[in-house]
């Protein structure tokens, strides 16, 4: 069982060593990675996903419970303690959603096939367009693919560490995803440009030029700010869903959203 991940420093894009001595993420902790595009956010979580041992572009090392993980843990998916949702919104495997999930469940050592239906059911909570068991994964829309992969990470990946790369960009129901994965006792890392997600996490890692610039612990004031922002965000989502379904903005909606 993973209780702790430790990230040891690597080098930034011009070869200068990162300033921190180590970053520790503990079970139950939520973390966001923020910074401009190209600052190294995705590279940071990819290092975690690969359990890097100085053999990635950044030269970082990642320890599990304070120890170097063995090769089997790094390379065998059914022992891998990490699930990652990348920014990919495309699948190349010529399989139906059901077959795709069934093979993945096998890869993760899950014997019970009911997980396949459960995953598709959960995915359909994240997206407005329904995914069917026999939908080919190659023709799913961007939002459907992301929803399916998020649901897959939660139920089939079912790992103590979940890494999410910009889930807000997927056109899926972010609030729903957040609700399900918060308070699970897992280590959850969000790469994000979304202020709501950034403020809902306890720790913020700021990236710059390929390196960690600083680590900020959320203040009490920021907790209040997060909940205020969440209210705004909900109103924005209502308007977004209206527009997406071809509805008009009404008087009441304008006064409510500006209130």
């Amino acid at each position: 069982m993973i209780t702790e991940l430790t990230i040891l420093p690597g080098f930034n894009k011009v070869g200068i060593r990162e300033g921190f001595s180590k970053i520790t993420l503990s079970a139950g902790e939520t973390v966001s990675i923020v910074g401009p595009t190209g600052s190294g956010k995705t590279a940071f979580i990819t290092d975690i996903e690969l359990l890097a041992q100085g053999d990635t572009a950044t030269k970082r090392k990642v320890l599990v419970n304070g120890l170097v993980p063995d090769d089997e843990v790094r390379c065998n998916p059914c022992r891998k303690p990490i699930a990652m949702i990348t920014q990919n919104t495309k699948c190349f495997a010529d399989l139906s959603s059901e077959e795709f999930l069934r093979i993945h469940a096998r890869a993760r050592g899950i014997k019970d096939n009911s997980v396949v239906d459960e995953t598709i059911e959960l995915a359909n909570k994240f997206t407005g367009e329904k995914i069917k068991n026999d939908s080919r994964v190659t023709v799913l829309s961007g939002g459907q693919t992301r929803s399916l992969l998020v649901a897959d990470a939660i139920l089939i990946g079912a790992s103590p560490v979940i890494l999410l790369d910009e889930i807000e960009n997927a056109g899926i129901f972010k609030q729903e995803v957040l609700r399900i994965i918060q308070n699970t006792g897992k280590i959850i890392v969000f790469v994000t440009h979304d202020p709501v997600i950034a403020l809902l996490t306890k720790k913020r890692i700021i990236m710059q030029n390929g390196a960690v610039k600083k680590v900020i612990i959320r203040s009490d004031l920021e907790v209040t700010a997060a909940y205020n922002l969440l209210e705004y965000d909900k109103r924005v989502s209502i308007i977004r869903e209206r527009l997406r379904t071809g509805k008009m903005i009404t008087e009441e909606l304008v006064s409510a959203s500006l209130a």
Partner: protein, 236 residues
């Protein structure tokens, strides 16, 4: 001398992988590189220029490239040994999937791209099933779930394969591969034979003949240096 035979479909990342291996290991051992291709090959010049290692190529032209490889590999091993190579890397053309270029000694590596398609591992037959190691490349282009689905498919095709995933342009997560190469045994050139059969039933001259080196074969034969018949060879 240690031997690596690298196979895989065109554009799967074989040369990128070779470059990472050479970059990592050229300080520890003298490396020779040999590329077999059908029409054109640039890898020998590229590798020689970038890393200053011994490199040469063989263009099979009209001949099946795997048959060509069987013919010239004996000479090529001798060339590498004569030049004092401690690691000899052979990169095959890897085209028709009816046979595999791996030998009974050294390591056979299949390079597969993450975006090659889910049925690729099964379709590639002995190029996968006779390999010792599979390296899955371009992992930055697909989701983790899709990578794991492909890896599972490869495992089901060949359960004993050692699997690794990499972004070969960056050389991600290849430490284990370097370690396996370092620990691999030296070859004995006299007892080298193919692991699998040559293209079965398509070439009555080579069918069943696992011996490498042109002196064991008859019919349409080529040596590494020069050719036996003017009219048979229209490569580069």
């Amino acid at each position: 001398m240690k031997l690596l035979v690298i196979a895989g479909p065109p554009s799967s990342g074989k040369t990128s992988l070779v470059k990472q291996i050479v970059k990592k290991m050229k300080h520890d051992m003298k490396i020779a590189f040999f590329k077999i291709d059908v029409v054109k090959a640039f890898e020998d010049v590229e590798l020689n220029k970038e890393f200053g290692i011994l490199a040469r190529k063989f263009i099979s032209g009209d001949l099946c490239p795997d048959h060509a490889s069987v013919m010239v590999l004996g000479d090529a091993v001798e060339w590498a040994e004569t030049n004092g190579a401690e690691l000899f890397i052979v990169e095959s053309a890897g085209l028709c999937l009816r046979c595999s270029p791996y030998l009974n000694q050294g390591l056979g590596i299949i390079v597969l791209s993450s975006i090659a398609g889910i049925h690729a591992p099964e379709k590639m037959g002995c190029m996968v099933t006779l390999a010792d190691i599979a390296v899955v490349t371009k992992i930055d282009l697909v989701s983790q779930a899709e990578r794991e689905v492909l890896v599972q498919k490869i495992k089901e095709t060949h359960p004993d394969l050692i699997l690794m995933e990499t972004n070969a342009l960056q050389g991600t997560s290849l430490h284990r591969l370097y370690e396996i190469i370092r620990k691999s045994s030296d070859i004995d050139a006299e007892t080298l034979v193919l692991k699998g059969n040559p293209p079965l039933g398509t070439c009555t001259i080579c069918v069943g003949k696992k011996e490498i080196g042109w002196k064991h074969h008859f019919g349409v034969i080529q040596k590494l240096d020069g050719q036996t018949a003017e009219y048979l060879y229209r490569g580069e």
